[in-house]
């Protein structure tokens, strides 16, 4: 199979989007999940539930509401445009923001599971050895929850690669800017260019399998110490 420049571009945008989304989500969600798991307030229970919400809305509908929120007439859209001189909707920043929102639950759930199963007793040892709470978090909690973190990042990455309803709506399917691979494949199916849809899907799946197999082997190798 051979791809044109617009498909290669779509590959690149997809990769960039998925990587940024999963990276940023880890930065946002690791502290958030930790806080949710350690707080007992009703507020935290509410936030915990709100965070899962994007998942129950059909992506296109979520995209529609996000589009409304991103419009230059809203505070968000206005502020963004004032700051960057660029419109939020139909820009890469826009689809990134949408992806973050959309994949949030898929980052949160595995992280919360991991933190919930994490045994706080190891932290006492770290504190007694002079590690501050922050240091202990990075040197003890995170490594011991590595499996959950990899799992979360993986789900986010994969989910962002496959995302298309939201992106189609807030991205506007603009080649070279917001046209990601999933939208390109969707387009190919819609225009009944089945060969292209098949080739793009196959390339995507092969890329995904290779990445996943590698990650899973890695995960397995390092996993056993966790059972101490």
């Amino acid at each position: 199979m051979s791809f044109g420049s617009s498909e290669l571009m779509a590959f690149w945008i997809t990769f960039k989007l998925a990587l940024l989304t999963s990276g940023l989500l880890m930065v946002i969600c690791i502290p958030l999940a930790w806080w949710l798991n350690n707080s007992r307030s009703l507020v935290s229970r509410l936030i915990e539930s709100l965070v899962t919400l994007p998942v129950v809305l059909p992506p296109t509908v979520l995209g529609f509401y996000l589009l409304m929120a991103f419009a230059p007439t809203t505070i968000l859209g206005e502020q963004f445009e004032a700051l960057t001189g660029q419109q939020l909707a139909f820009s890469f920043s826009g689809i990134l923001l949408g992806s973050l929102f959309y994949s949030l639950p898929f980052a949160m759930q595995p992280l919360q599971t991991a933190f919930a199963q994490f045994d706080n007793k190891a932290l006492d040892a770290a504190h007694s050895l002079g590690a501050s709470p922050v240091e202990a978090f990075f040197r003890v909690t995170l490594p011991l929850c590595k499996h959950g973190i990899i799992s979360a990042a993986l789900l986010c990455f994969a989910h962002t690669v496959g995302e298309f309803g939201v992106i189609l709506m807030i991205g506007g399917n603009i080649p070279g800017e917001t046209q990601v691979l999933s939208v390109a494949i969707f387009d190919a199916v819609e225009t009944m260019d089945y060969a292209k849809a098949y080739n793009l899907s196959a390339a995507l799946l092969i890329f995904a399998v290779v990445t996943l197999v590698m990650i899973n082997i890695l995960k397995r190798k390092e996993q056993d110490y966790a059972k101490c």
Partner: protein
Amino acid sequence: MLNVDCHLTLPGQTLSYQLKTPEEITCLGIKGDSGCGKTTLLRIIAGLEHQAHGYVEFAQQQWQYTQQQKFIHASERNIGFVFQDARLFAHLSVAQNIQFKGNKRALPGFEFKRVIETLDVGHLLNRRPVNLSGGEKQRVAIARALTSKPRYLLFDEPLTGIDHNHKVIILDYLAQLKYEYAIPMIYVSHLDDELKKISDGTINLNHKNNPFTMLSNPNRAHG
């Protein structure tokens, strides 16, 4: 050396401690039936019980005074703590566990090599905790606490599960640390012979009133 007036509410019970020992003690032994609150006392002294209320002073250090909003975080108390259940870091090798705090300059008496040799853990350095026997874990835990440049030492039944030969060597070493470097210690144990060997006085938590007994101990520290 110890002055504690403190209480902690646990689900189902409240533990309270009013303890005061003479200043000239270097190693305080603690005993008492299982469940009487030895571990909890040690955790309060170490600053690991954030719900404890009251006053904690150890070796002239005022570590907690709830009325005055004073609470030094455990990580700033410069303690070495040997937990009853070893509590090694599962993701780190034995060597990494022992060097968790970094060992740039060891305190005199706690030189890395000396600790490793005395605790006989040299051959275990590349192992993961999951691959250790119970007694080996415990020895690594002691080594980890000692190499962390502690200014104070808290031992919670450190030698349970360790065989007689190792026990004698380790206990000798601890006694020497106390004697030569006057490191303030608390040592929890069920075994009188251990306490007799290492401590200058013991608190028996079974006795609600007047729990403290002074021992005349040949190993009493210089300082």
